[in-house]
């Protein structure tokens, strides 16, 4: 399977370059077509329940001062990816940046001056060639940890997620080749905050409730998002997401569920439309008497909440209610706020009640 993916990637890059060579030979002004990734070309697919990229494309010309440097850089990155795919090794995007950086001719200009120049061009190639970053063998930072009654095979090892003591399995950046050996869980609980994960892990929540516990440490990395998708898709595991009660936390949930605008081209691999939201909501703050632990929402929070009210994938009345509550009251709260009711309140009261009543937001 690995091999096949590699061959496909390599071939696509070859064809992409060959197309440009043809234009040059015909003495045209060489250009490359790059899908537009701005908001205007991101569409909400009602059907699939995820964000997808539309068909708009823009041309990148070599003979345009504004484009020339990016044109050259795009080719350099494509060539690099072809090389590592052909060699079957992986590289971090920073490694790539350093590897490609060199001075141009005898000028003082470098092919790349900052990593911020190369990062967006990777996404250009992903979308232009319809290849995922993982298929280009580029690694993102690993982040995220998981425990539960699951056994997986990875590079020949069998890893038992229930036998990791107080630690957990650090989720790798590429989970495509992981094989699920045994999955015994009624649901997976994805938690935005590490502290929440630790609490529940210490309290053996996953054992008591036969579930998978996953800590994302903020916005989940691509590997974590792909793992969630695979659990939901391949093993029909219900996914429940626990975040802070604020627009940032809810946005994390929406990224897990529907994908993000920046990675709309990859939603089919990374988004999990079946995911449900378990908490925290603004309503929870009132129901669980957390008023003493609320934080005043700042302008950025409110701005984001207002934007979310306009998202087509945030139109369910429950979500509109929560967003409006947040905007009107200008408040937010963190998962840790539950500790004001006692340290084990999350484990012993909040989650059991939510699960029992099936009180999820869509």
């Amino acid at each position: 399977m690995v091999k096949k993916r590699g061959e496909n990637t390599s071939k696509k890059i070859f064809e992409f370059a060959e197309g440009i060579v043809e234009q040059i030979k015909e003495e045209k002004k060489p250009k490359m077509k790059i899908p537009v990734r701005s908001l205007s070309n991101v569409e909400w697919s009602e059907d699939k329940g995820v964000l997808t990229l539309g068909n708009k494309k823009s041309n990148r010309y070599f003979f345009n001062v504004g484009h020339a440097r990016k044109f050259m850089q795009t080719l350099l990155i494509a060539s690099f990816c072809k090389d590592i795919v052909d060699e079957n090794i992986h590289a971090s995007i920073r490694d790539m940046y350093y590897n490609l950086k060199h001075s141009i001719g005898d000028s003082k200009e470098n092919t790349f001056e900052e990593q911020s120049e190369s990062d967006p061009l990777i996404v250009d190639i992903e979308t232009a060639l319809n290849l995922l970053r993982e298929q280009l063998h580029l690694l993102a930072d690993r982040k995220g940890v998981v425990v539960g009654n699951v056994k997986v095979r990875d590079r020949g090892d069998v890893i038992d997620w229930s036998k990791l003591g107080s630690g957990g399995w650090s989720i790798p950046s590429v989970v495509e080749d992981i094989e699920f050996v045994d999955v015994d869980a009624d649901f997976a609980l994805v938690i935005e905050k590490n502290a929440g994960f630790e609490r529940l892990h210490e309290d053996k929540f996953w054992r008591d409730y036969n579930c998978i516990l996953m800590g994302t440490g903020g916005q989940p990395a691509r590997g974590t998002r792909r793992l969630i998708r695979r659990l939901a898709e391949e093993h029909k595991i219900p996914i429940y997401v626990l975040t802070d009660s604020d627009s940032y936390g809810w946005y994390i949930y929406s990224v897990i569920k529907s994908g993000s605008m920046a990675l709309a081209h990859a939603s089919d691999k990374l988004a999990t439309p079946s995911a449900k939201f378990i908490g925290l909501t603004i309503t929870d703050i009132m129901e669980y008497k957390l008023e003493k632990s609320i934080i005043r929402a700042n302008d950025r929070d409110i701005k984001r909440a207002k934007e979310m009210l306009d998202y087509p994938w945030f139109q369910e009345k429950e979500w509109r209610r929560e967003l409006k509550l947040m905007i009107d009251k200008r408040i937010k709260a963190e998962i840790e706020a539950l500790s004001s009711r006692g340290l084990k309140f999350l484990t012993d009261t909040y989650l059991p009640e939510k699960l029992d009543k099936k009180e999820f937001l869509p």
Binding site: E27, F71, A78, S79, E109
Partner: protein, 519 residues
Amino acid sequence: MVVEGKDAEQMAKEHKEISISEFFEKNRHLLGYDNPTRALLTVVKEFVDNSLDACEEARILPRIWLEVKPTTSDRFRVMVKDNGPGMLDKRIPKTLGKLLVGSKFYKHIQSRGQQGLGTKGAVLYAQLTTGKPTTIISSTGNGKTSFYELMIDVKKNEPKIISHKYVEDGRKWHGLKLEMEIEGRYVDSRTGVPEFIKEVAISNPFADIIFDGPEGRMEFKRGTNELPPLPKEIKPHPYGVELGIFRRMLQDTSSRSIKTFFMNDFTRVGSTSANGICEVAGIDPKISPKSVDRETTEKLFKSMKKAKLLRPPTDCLSPLGESIMLSGLKKEIEGEFFSAVTRPAAVYRGEPFQVEAGIAYGGKLPEDQAVEVIRLSNRVPLMYQKGDCAITKAVEKTNWKSYELKQSGSNLPRGPAIVMVHFASTWVPYTSESKQAIASYPIIIKEIKLALQEAGRRMKSYVIGKRKFEMRQKRRKKFERYIPEVAETLNKITNEDKQLIKAKLQKKAKEVTGVKISG
């Protein structure tokens, strides 16, 4: 303490009349003698102005020798010598020893000095601070030389001759030499004597100036042999005359009828306009000006203000002109682009005035400082009261961002530029008698802004043109630089011939930039 009140009788007894010399002796700050630093500059300025004025009026290319040397720690000997027409022996005492005597007070003519106070003020200051008379040596070219030592009798406002010789020495020279000792302090700063002389040299490039100061000798060579045209005297313009003045003109005129009064005593009023003014006022144009009563005066006045008249003639003024401004700026400032603009004349209070603006840009000028503003009034640099001056205010109110300079709010713009503004008029409305700031009347501000805007537009064209050229160069070089990288990479991915790709791209690059590229 009980003090008895005074009644009107007592108060009346105390009333006394004083002379104008007494007034200015006590109010010498009005003449620019506030402190020793400023006093020294004022003396230098009055001397230089006087010499330049005399030479110009006599159509002589000026050559001015100025000396400033310390005598004690707080006193200076100041000497000026020029090649002007000189002064008649018998006129010297009144001309230099009596305040408010001058040739130009009622003339409508552009000149440096005007109110008959300048050099006399210096004589007054010298005797006040050092008790010493002023020495005058002069000849009109008739082979005789006058020698005077002169003071002013302040109570009478009359000259006091300390010594006098008038010698037939056969020396065929003309010119004037003045020498006096004053209390002063010498500073070499933005507001000091050397900066003043430098700005004089910029604005009077037809003059040779030698300045021998405490720090040594500096020569400013003449840049052109062309004297600017001599300003001509004109009659007042109706738009600028006030009711009180108009009344007096009616009484003082030698014209027999209202109609001829308008035609003779004003500029720009012809027969038709004069008739029109009388008609609108409902007055017979033939009646005598002397017979006009107060009510009729006001009618005529209002009608005159409404009449459609030409602007006053320009040739009564003597602007520097764009070419002289450019040569002055280029001579002293290491910029890369210069522009100069002379506005058409405008009129304020019946007196025509004309604004000129020059800009020096780029080159060695500092990138990120507030631009320097050189203010000139009838070719005389203004050194003090910058903030009060209409020129500074107009520079601040101009939107320099439109002309590619930085500017925050209504402050002086920032960037590699120097701005020079010249205000020429038959009557400069200074904010005070020390003549260091032009009053901010709206029409003056407006004219200065118009001149600055035009000069600014020219600067902008230059800056944008320069930028476009640089852009084209940059573009060509950019493609040139990237072609080998692109060719190499495409070769690496596809194995296509590297040299072929390179050649094709280079050919295309030539087409696209319209510039032949190397390699």
